[in-house]
Subunit: 235 residues, 2 copies
């Protein structure tokens, strides 16, 4: 049914966003004495998005943007010691243990028996490689692709490289923008697994999902059953 | 004779090291008032090498290491404004125009007629992609691979992925450590083109080169003639 199943990594295979949320909370406490606390989030967001073209995704660019925001918001009054704390935080994030989401290893082990599996993740090259190695999941994947962004063009290039027909490609991830919509657009299939527990839903009927163009699962453990269901509905 | 010819990018296709040298000179002037000027280079080198495991290669990690070195060497007395200057410098480096080395486009155009060509470069994903696009050289390459490091293992993985036999692979680059020695070690061929004009040598006789295990050229324009010479010596 599928020649290749690809998985996003951050917040699909392991926790990531929580680390950024903690780092932003720590950042807020560092800069709060210097500025209007209500403006921190907006400024940081504006600077981070403005820097994406230069820095791309990942912790190194995030840390550079935190330092820039701290200098801007404090009007240059932030101390070198406080900037050092932001550098230390960045290194701690890069070295942080990889915490897998529930059911990930056993689900991948099961799927790897019948499918070729791939990781498609964005961010800093060396950090993503390091997380994949440390995750203990490397053995389940035939291919690992670390990309600078996940657009229609990114997926087209990857499918060409691996000579996969879009209709026989399935992407699994937690981001509608990066993992789901561009894949649907080029004629592939996608399974959306929201990261936060409050966003999670039960499996819905396949016919309903087909209308939206993608499937939505509460967690990764439901993926093998979905694939079996699709197989049967096709017979 | 070769199924694939791969090129390093920084200081092989375009200038790069000169940008880092200028940035370090600028850095020296910023921190000089705060410390013993004779210790700047050693401290920076020590911190950069110590951070390679966290940051990998590239301008983002370089900039983070400059900030850390400035804070360390000034014992926390460096100002936020001066750190902002280092951030600005990093962005300027990322946005800097790509300056090709002499003879690069015409040589690649010539080689692309007869060979499949690849770029293998290390550094920040988004920055390397951006330089390749802006270089105007993209059309000559069948494949572009951006890697976090260039070890024996890196080349083995790439050759497996593209199903290339090492003896039919040629790597061209300016770094003995990254471009030449690991390729020779796995049974491939390599052409060393030193970056600095003072390191350059004329083409030497093929028999002499064969003993060293790699070829050395003064500049990339000599590569087609070397390949023709090899072809003839093989007949």
């Amino acid at each position: 049914m599928f020649d290749l199943i690809a998985f996003d990594a951050d917040d699909t295979l392991w926790h990531s966003e929580n680390t950024f949320a903690e780092a932003q909370e720590n950042f807020r406490q560092i800069v709060a004495p210097y500025c209007d606390i209500n403006e921190i989030e907006d400024s940081l967001h504006r600077i981070m998005v403005g820097n994406l073209g230069h820095y791309g995704y990942g912790i190194k660019g995030f840390t550079l943007s935190l330092i820039e925001t701290a200098i801007t918001m404090s009007e240059g009054r932030i101390s070198a010691k406080e900037i050092q704390a932001l550098l230390d935080q960045g290194k701690a994030m890069l070295a942080a243990e990889v915490h897998l989401l529930d059911h990930v290893p056993e689900t991948l082990a099961k799927l790897a028996e019948n499918y070729r599996l791939m990781v498609i993740t964005k961010g800093d090259l060396i950090h993503q490689e390091s997380k994949i190695e440390r995750s203990g999941l490397r053995e389940y994947f035939d291919f690992v692709e670390i990309v600078s962004d996940k657009t229609h063009q990114t997926y087209t290039t990857l499918l060409n490289r691996y000579q996969i027909i879009p209709s026989r490609f399935l992407m699994v991830g937690n981001s509608l923008r990066s993992d789901i919509l561009p894949v649907i657009e080029l004629g592939g299939h996608a399974v959306y697994i929201p990261y936060h527990i409050t966003w999670a839903h039960e499996v819905v009927a396949i016919s309903d999902e087909a209308e939206k163009g993608y499937f939505e699962l509460a967690d990764i453990s439901l993926l093998p059953a979905l694939l079996e269901g699709l197989q049967e509905s096709r017979l």
